[in-house]
């Protein structure tokens, strides 16, 4: 309801604004004003584009229910004994005796069916979710109309809208929790967890709170989105230009820096990955991904050498794909509580200033910015889900009785009041929780590895920072075996576990410096006219997600260094010059996605499949992240055909190769065909490179564009 009211309010504001303008125009009748109106000119243009990505590998997205590595793969869980610090496997007798000894509480397990003469305390965790083979990763049609109104030579309005329809509900293999006899219990955003995937909405926690109904769609002004549609205005601003001075005010994207794709100095906007993640046509960089936001941007050409550029812009975060959508990157067993609205981050302003100088072969730039990191940082948060453990198993029934008898839970609520204070919620098998939760320690550790977290670390932090867990006999551990037995105990008791994490945004300062140089050699030299760019950025005390999802996060200085060499070279007179670019990036603290390197390097999980051995915690992490980009574009004569090739190498063992071809047949048509080859296990440790995070997305992409 709040969503609808918000939209109505926005619409009213807009209506008032345009109404005022209309009245103003109607009342203005002087000859001068008439001349002003007559001096207006305007034009429209646009494009209509269909994009289709056909999946070419058999690996489903492991962050989704359908792609979970444990689907139809049984894992035996043997709960540890909470009364011995989980140092050994428990039996039902151990449990009964333990509660009697520690709380003088006789446990009634008469409702638990006896199997082979005993009360079972071991189970084969078997996710019954299928892993259907998807045909399409991406199928959308977009319309992007543009309008430009020139009021005077100095003042103009620029508008570009983006209207997109996602054919996901018709073409993708969609996980739908409603296929289960029982729906997913409460606690998660119903629009993201109780129906078929939501492809295009950006959902955040409402200002008022998180409980059911407390979620908000479209927190951005100038954006309207639903499950399968998306409308926004990447450009909607007024621009005034007088001599060397210019100012823009309105909704806009801002791109800084020269290094393509690496974003060393491109710090103004987060990325919207709802549309094809970041694996669209490589040479188009992030033009479609940068999140537009209301801003004021001012530029001034100080001299023929120096120019200064500054902005102040509403903070908007990077937007990740929603759970169970083809490019989802956050494991679906997490409920993410995005605090963008509730934390008041929508009222924060990023601002920055850049000074650029260019003389002859040399160029320099200096940058300083204050912003909220759009990636955000995640940490455990209390689930606030008051739901008892299932009474259908020995552990669940025992704990529920303990909570009511000893910890003061109202009768019938079992451990619900206690569990509401820890960052987990539990649900019975047979419901949608079967597919939506973690059922074993092995799944816990594998999920942690995929998310670049530490399985033990996350367990210990949960227990330390949410002390209610200790009331339920949870205790920190110092080895994987104890951790496995403890997690298996909770998985047995709760049957299926979901985690709750907050996403918060932290302010930071970023400083950058860059230099460019155009090499002048003999005209015959291959390297003649090669353009070199070096960019360095430094963010002191940047806040990262801690590998244990600690409340205090992880703070570290973050450096990013990029080196770029670009060259156009004509290999043969018959063809236009070939554009070639080499890029190298060094990051000593975080990876290309902004994840702290301490989460990298977990050993023990084979690529793309369930593991019989729970992965280790990452230990000390990987020492640094290094990336190499090799890209080239070769137009054919007349540029009617253009071939392109881009390759991103993560030196830790990942490769992303994108060959492509573009056809410009004329008559305002354009066709692109490219292939995304992804290998996250080329060499080294799989969990140390970024490609392994999305190497399920291998695909062939077709794009057809009509411009008008």
């Amino acid at each position: 309801m709040s969503t609808g009211i918000g939209q109505i309010r926005s619409a009213r504001h807009a209506a008032r604004l345009f109404g005022s303008l209309f009245i103003l125009t109607s009342l203005t009748t002087t000859a001068q004003a008439q001349a002003f109106w007559e001096s207006w000119s305007w034009r429209t243009s646009g494009l209509l584009r269909t994009e289709l990505a056909i999946k070419t590998n058999s690996t489903e997205n492991r962050f989704n229910a359908f792609g979970n590595e444990f689907n139809r793969t049984p894992v035996t869980i043997r709960p540890g004994n909470p009364f011995t610090g989980f140092s050994d496997v428990a039996s039902s007798d151990d449990i009964e005796q333990g509660f009697l000894d520690t709380a003088d509480l006789p446990i009634d397990l008469s409702a638990i069916p006896v199997v082979d003469g005993t009360l079972p305390l071991e189970r084969e965790a078997l996710r019954s979710t299928p892993s259907p083979s998807s045909t399409f990763n991406y199928a959308i049609t977009r319309l992007e109309p543009s309008l430009e109104v020139q009021f005077t030579r100095a003042l103009r309005l620029r508008v570009r809208a983006r209207l997109l329809y996602d054919f996901g509900s018709q073409l993708y293999e969609n996980f739908d929790p409603r296929d289960f006899p029982e729906p997913l219990p409460g606690g998660a955003d119903p629009q993201l967890s109780r129906s078929s995937p939501n492809y295009q909405s950006y959902r955040v926690e409402a200002r008022s709170g998180r409980m059911e109904g407390g979620w908000r769609n479209n927190p951005f002004l100038f954006e309207w989105s639903g499950s399968d549609y998306f409308i926004d205005f990447p450009a909607l601003f007024l621009e005034y230009n007088q001599g060397p001075f210019q100012i823009r005010a309105g909704n806009m994207q801002i791109a800084w820096g020269q290094a393509l794709f690496f974003r060393t100095m491109d710090i103004a906007n987060g990325l919207d990955t709802r549309r094809h993640l970041i694996i669209g046509r490589g040479l188009e960089e992030f033009a479609d991904e940068r999140v537009p936001a209301p801003a004021v941007r001012v530029g001034y050409q100080l001299s023929r050498v120096w120019e200064v550029d500054a902005f102040a812009q509403q903070f908007r975060p990077t937007i990740f794909p929603n759970p169970n959508t083809p490019f989802n990157l956050i494991t679906h067993e997490f409920t993410v509580h995005d605090q963008y609205l509730r934390g008041g981050y929508d009222k924060k302003v990023n601002y920055g200033i850049r000074l650029q100088g260019q003389w002859g072969q040399w160029g320099v730039q200096f940058m300083a910015a204050h912003r909220h990191n759009p990636n955000g940082a995640f940490r455990w948060t209390a689930s606030q889900v008051n739901r008892a453990l299932p009474n259908s198993n020995v552990l669940g029934a025992s704990f529920n009785q303990y909570c009511e008898a000893v910890l003061g839970s109202p009768v019938g609520e079992g451990c619900g009041p206690q569990l509401a204070q820890v960052p987990l919620d539990f649900g019975p098998l047979g419901s949608a929780m079967d597919a939506a939760g973690v059922q074993s320690a092995h799944q816990w550790f594998t999920g942690a590895q995929n998310a670049r977290l530490g399985g033990i670390d996350a367990l210990n932090v949960l227990i330390e920072e949410f002390p209610v867990a200790q009331d339920l006999f949870a205790q920190t551990v110092d080895n994987k075996e104890d951790a496995i037995r403890q997690i298996d105990a909770f998985a047995y008791a709760g049957e299926s576990i979901r985690g709750h994490i907050d996403r918060e945004y932290h302010s930071e300062n970023i400083f950058g410096v860059g230099a460019s140089y155009v090499l002048q050699l003999a005209p015959t030299n291959f390297f003649n006219q090669t353009i070199f760019n070096l960019e360095v950025s430094y963010a002191p005390d940047r806040v990262f997600t801690d590998t244990g999802l600690r409340q205090s996060f992880l703070t570290d200085d973050d450096w990013s260094i990029s080196f770029v060499a670009e060259n156009w070279h004509r290999f043969t007179p018959a063809f236009p010059g070939t554009y070639m670019v080499f890029q190298y990036k060094f990051r000593p603290t975080s990876d290309l996605f902004g994840r702290h390197l301490s989460g990298m390097g977990s050993e023990g999980s084979p690529a793309g499949g369930p593991t019989v051995v729970a992965p280790d915690d990452p230990g000390t992490g990987s020492g640094n992240a290094q990336y190499i980009v090799l890209a080239a574009e070769q137009p054919f004569p007349g540029r009617v055909w253009e071939t392109a090739f881009a390759m991103l190498i993560d030196v830790r063992g990942g490769i992303f190769i994108q060959p492509g071809i573009r056809w410009n047949p004329g008559r305002n048509l354009q066709f692109d065909l490219f292939y995304n080859f992804l290998e996250g296990s080329a060499w080294g440790t799989r969990s140390e490179n970024i490609i392994s995070t999305f190497d399920f997305a291998e695909e062939a992409v077709i794009r057809a564009t009509w411009q008008f």
């Binding site: 543009s146 570009r160 530029g299 005209p523 015959t524 003649n528 007349g638 540029r639 004329g666």
Partner: protein, 467 residues
């Protein structure tokens, strides 16, 4: 009845004989430039300088072709000796038709007003320095406007007349409608773009823009249509030194930012399907000493499109088309006799990987602008022609006024044909009244500072880029 004194090739033979003896001055009957420099009435100089066979198409073709006739495949052989080979092929084999107009004998109509004044005022004041750049004699400063060598004695002097001032206005911006025709004769691409050029030095107002004596010009090509290319732009900052390459920047909409480009990639199509290269601009699109081995290989009368190429009665001054497989390949044009042109050959010595092996530029002796242009590939085969109508902007009684003398028609270009004969692609440029995203062409602005900031800086092209 006028008695023909010479046959049609007499003057060509005479002019080449004079060239062989080192006499390069324009004119057959009398030297053109001395008459020009002294004359109070520029109307009749042409008649005093060249024989009627160089001026009248009827005389030149022995009555086979007259003013008002249309040259097509049926009669093109009568004017073959006056046409470049690509134009001849267009007419004889591709269905092109050209109308023959009255020759422009009033030399005033062949210059912008201020440029003619500067040429006359500054005659004899130019010299090449040790770096082979044109300097004002006595001061050593950059050139002070007009043609530095109004009566060129060498091919280099003829080329530098074009290079130092392309459009012959201190400031010019042209709204250009582009039709790029594919080998099947269809309009495959239609672009709108604006071409801005500003002379920093070599200006007719005796000024040096902002005192920047080390620069020659600023030039931006800004595409405004279609959407994919909207905001694509190329900014060239030319140094005054003609041995150096211009700095080249581009705004690439996909990148949302200004990128620096290597400057020796001047032989690339700017956008898909177009056959125009930066190197082709005005017949001398590169700094002149990045080319070399200049030589004059022919002199004589030619046909060229000059006057009568403004279609002011058509909506938006659009130019009718004809010919080719779909009736779209050529624009309707009017051509006329140029009494004497020199044909200069040059090679791209500064571009060892250039696909161009050499180029031929025909230069009108009366005003020093190009009136024909053909490039050859590295094998020596003909590759492209670049034809532009350069003349007074008038159509009957209607004319676009010269900003410095509103009583006279403006001199500028009207249309271009850029024909890649190897790929069989044609690019037609039409200087129309307005294009999408631009309010119409302008010249010699009162507030050039503001316009410079608005269109000719890196900040400007970032702002002009698509949002």
């Amino acid at each position: 009845m006028r008695i023909r004194k010479y046959d049609f090739s007499y003057s060509r033979r005479l002019l080449m004989e004079q060239a062989a003896k080192g006499f390069m001055g324009a004119g057959v009957l009398a030297p053109f430039w001395p008459l020009m420099a002294k004359a109070e009435n520029l109307d009749d100089i042409v008649f005093k300088t060249w024989p009627i066979e160089n001026i009248s198409i009827e005389e030149n073709t022995k009555g086979k072709i007259s003013e008002g006739d249309t040259v097509d495949a049926s009669n093109v052989e009568h004017v073959k000796h006056l046409l470049d080979p690509i134009t001849h092929t267009q007419i004889s084999e591709m269905g092109r038709r050209i109308k023959i107009g009255k020759p422009t004998t009033n030399v005033e109509l062949l210059y912008p007003h201020a440029y003619l004044e500067a040429t006359l005022r500054n005659a004899g004041k130019a010299e090449f320095d040790a770096e082979r750049n044109v300097r004002e004699k006595g001061t050593g400063g950059p050139w002070i406007g007009g043609n530095p060598f109004p009566d060129p004695e060498t091919p280099e002097e003829a080329i530098v007349n074009i290079t130092l001032s392309w459009g012959r206005h201190n400031w010019a911006e042209y709204g250009i409608r582009d039709f790029s025709i594919d080998p099947n004769g269809r309009i495959a691409y239609q672009y709108d773009f604006v071409w801005y050029e500003q002379n920093v030095t070599s200006r007719t107002d005796r000024q040096v823009f902002r005192g920047w004596k080390d620069r020659l010009r600023h030039n931006t090509a800004l595409f405004t249509h279609p959407t994919e290319n909207d905001g694509t732009s190329f900014l060239s900052i030319w140094g005054y030194d003609q041995n150096s390459f211009p700095d080249l920047y581009g705004y690439v909409p996909a990148f949302r930012r200004v990128r620096q480009f290597p400057t020796d990639q001047r032989f690339e199509p700017l956008v898909p399907g177009i056959t125009l290269f930066l190197s082709d601009a005005w017949g001398a699109g590169d700094p002149m000493w990045t080319w070399g081995n200049y030589k004059i290989i022919d002199r004589g009368p030619v046909l060229a499109p000059i006057n009568g190429n403004l279609w002011s009665k058509n909506d938006n001054w659009e130019i009718p088309k004809h010919g080719g497989p779909q009736g779209n390949t050529f624009q309707d044009t009017t051509w006329e006799m140029v009494p004497e042109a020199i044909l200069v050959e040059a090679e791209p010595v500064g571009y060892p990987r250039s696909p161009v092996g050499k180029r031929h530029v025909w230069i009108d002796r009366r005003n020093g602008v190009f009136c024909g242009y053909i490039t050859y590939d590295r094998r020596g085969d003909m590759w492209k022609s670049f034809e532009a109508s350069l003349g007074p902007r008038q159509d009957g009684d209607f004319f676009v006024p010269d900003p410095d003398n509103p009583d006279r028609p403006l001199w500028t270009w009207g249309e271009c044909h850029i024909h890649d004969v190897q790929a069989e692609r044609m690019t037609l440029l039409a200087h129309v009244e307005k294009i999408r995203g631009h309010e119409g062409s302008r010249w010699n602005l009162p507030d050039e500072d503001d316009a410079y900031e608005r269109f000719l800086t890196r900040t400007a092209i970032a702002r002009l880029g698509a949002a």
